[in-house]
């Protein structure tokens, strides 16, 4: 089963390597990992997408909780949550018809064109991983120059929150 684990960790240099090291040392999967500071500069928030049986997920959350740098942890998938990922795609856009095609496709996916040159567009798209993949599939493969994905982040709906 796929799980999204959100963590508040001490904003210290070793924290990320402790967490990624735990996953590799114990043979757990990481599908994606994102990290950035929060409104409190001493805390970082990390979102880890992982897969495993219930027992493995239980071990993952226990082992993460055991790390001294981990302040708080939440398995977001246990609740009602919103998940989003952001993607930048740089595509070839040469000639009227190609430019129009990219435009049209981006409108369908509610993507935004954030940079334009004579020969390229850069598109920003937000959504679930599935949506981002669908966009890439829809875009002609030969047109894609570069893809950057942020990895997922997630938040619980309603009043529940991961805070100190």
């Amino acid at each position: 089963m796929r799980h999204i684990v959100s963590l508040l960790v001490e904003n210290e240099s070793g924290a990320l390597s402790r967490i990624s090291g735990l996953f590799s040392a114990r043979g757990y999967n990481i599908e994606s990992l994102t990290v950035a500071t929060t409104e409190d500069p001493t805390l970082s928030r990390m979102t880890i997408i992982t897969t495993g049986s219930d027992r493995i997920i239980e071990q993952i959350t226990k082992q993460l909780n055991k790390l001294v740098d981990v302040v708080k942890l939440q398995d977001v998938t246990e609740g009602n949550f919103i998940e989003r990922e952001i993607m930048f795609v740089k595509v070839k856009a040469e000639g009227e018809s190609q430019r129009a095609e990219v435009h049209r496709l981006s409108e369908i996916f509610r993507a935004r064109i954030i940079d334009v040159t004579d020969t390229t567009f850069c598109i920003e798209l937000t959504g679930s991983g599935d949506k981002l993949e669908a966009y890439i599939r829809a875009m002609h493969e030969n047109n894609i120059i570069e893809v950057v994905r942020s990895g997922s982040m997630a938040i619980l709906r309603g009043e529940k929150a991961l805070t100190l």
């Binding site: 090291g21 226990k62 001294v68 100190l164």
Partner: protein
Amino acid sequence: MELSGSEIIIQFLKDEGVKHLFGYPGGAVLHIYDALQKQDDVMHILVRHEQGATHAADGYARATGKPGVCLVTSGPGATNAVTGIATAYMDSIPLVVLTGQVPSHAIGSDAFQEVDAVGVTRPCVKHNFLVKDLTKLAETLKKAFYVATTGRPGPVVVDIPKDITAPHIKIPYVYPKKIEMRSYNPTSKGHPRQIKRAVDLLLSAKRPIIYSGGGIIMGEASAELRQFVRKLGYPITQTLMGLGAFPGTDPQFIGMLGMHGTYEANMAMHECDVLLCIGARFDDRITGVISKFCPYAQVIHVDVDPASISKTIIADVPIVGGAKQVLTEMIKVLDKTEKEVDSNALEAWWKTIAAWQSQDSFAYDKNSDLIQPQAAVEELYRVTNGDAYITSDVGQHQMFAAQFYPFDEPRRWINSGGLGTMGFGLPAAMGVKLAFPDKDVACITGEGSIQMCIQELSTCLQYDTPVKIINLNNRYLGMVRQWQEFFYEKRYSHVYMDSLPDFVKLAEAYGHVGIQVDKPGDLHDAMKEAFKLKDRTVFLDIITDREANVYPMISAGKAHNEMDISPLQQQKQASLKAEGELV
């Protein structure tokens, strides 16, 4: 008080009550050694290899319950310490290891003797720190001691760049008495409802067993365990790490369990209907094959580390808490409850166990012309009245020690259980002797293990730590040879030590006493002689039967009731069967 970084380290150690510091100087820690030289409160023990420092500090910690403290230099100093750090990590031993680091500005430049000590040690420490700011030094040291000694204990590394310890930069110092860490709050009190459930389940048992481990010793819960187990009258088995928590000579103790445990302990594990595991972690050397583990049992698991619970064996009643606190609560519940032990069932259970015991699974040839390693350990037990501190290395001798030297007190049996580190025994013995100079300390070892840290004989002389080295010398790497005998059709691959040193001369070269014995009849006198020389380190080189094996044995993929048993036990089983005593 204005102090330099180096002075802060030394003053902090004093304030923290540290009496012994095991270390080895080098470039990155020169400032600290200069400050160390100017005082007498913290005794520094100069080892001969950093691995020895960590093992000595580890032995000290296991024997005293206080954290062991090391000081090593950067680069090779730190990497040499890694084996000892990993050893302590696997057995949850509180260590604080201070590693020197190249100056802050040089970090990352591949400077002389630079290694990323925080990175190298990360997978085998409870936590580690790199000190980046002199003003945080005292606080970081306090955190290190706090993390190392609380919850499930473990080693903590503090990496200190040289510039932080510079003598001319001084700042105000106050000893941080208490520390708060928002991200680290170990649980110690068990959940009351779960504790009630556990006691109820235990009282409903027909074939109960208690299986306890090193957590009882680290958690100082020996007295509570004894009280609880005696109140119930149930059989108890202990892991290699737990020996001594419950007295080894008590009739309720049915021996160690696991790969080389007693027949009765393993059979009782297999047949039990309620299992209380406390302060142990269902290690693979304990469980045998998981799919056949305790097939009839409901499992209660008490551990201070939530991650240990249901890691390998699913607990029916999980309790997160310190062994001492949980046992204290369990005793209270037991005293109050109206339920009683099912004494008829218990009597029948003890009868079953007695029948297993009558097979004498540790039997060995007592009429041999060769010294049997088991006999050597038994002799050591007699000569020391069962009251010595025993350290060991890793291999057959370690198992013989665990089997034939019953420990009645916790912290007397000091060995590397989890990591299985050869070379642990001698430096650990040194650490113990420093803590308890008036006690007998012996290191049971083999000719393979002892050579892995033999250089510490030199340290033993310098600091006058007269330990007794009981070398069970079978001229083989015995445990490896045993596996090759059992599982590789006696194809002995690289287990023959055919150029062994003359250990007697070697001991003498280091300034100690060496005695060799090779006849069973000489064993007693030699052992007596060794312990009579109170103020000398004695190397007792005992030439033993080359092909003695450790029995019983649970081999890979086997369950507790599928042990390989000794030829002597097989004979006994056959004769019991013939007499109709065994069905």
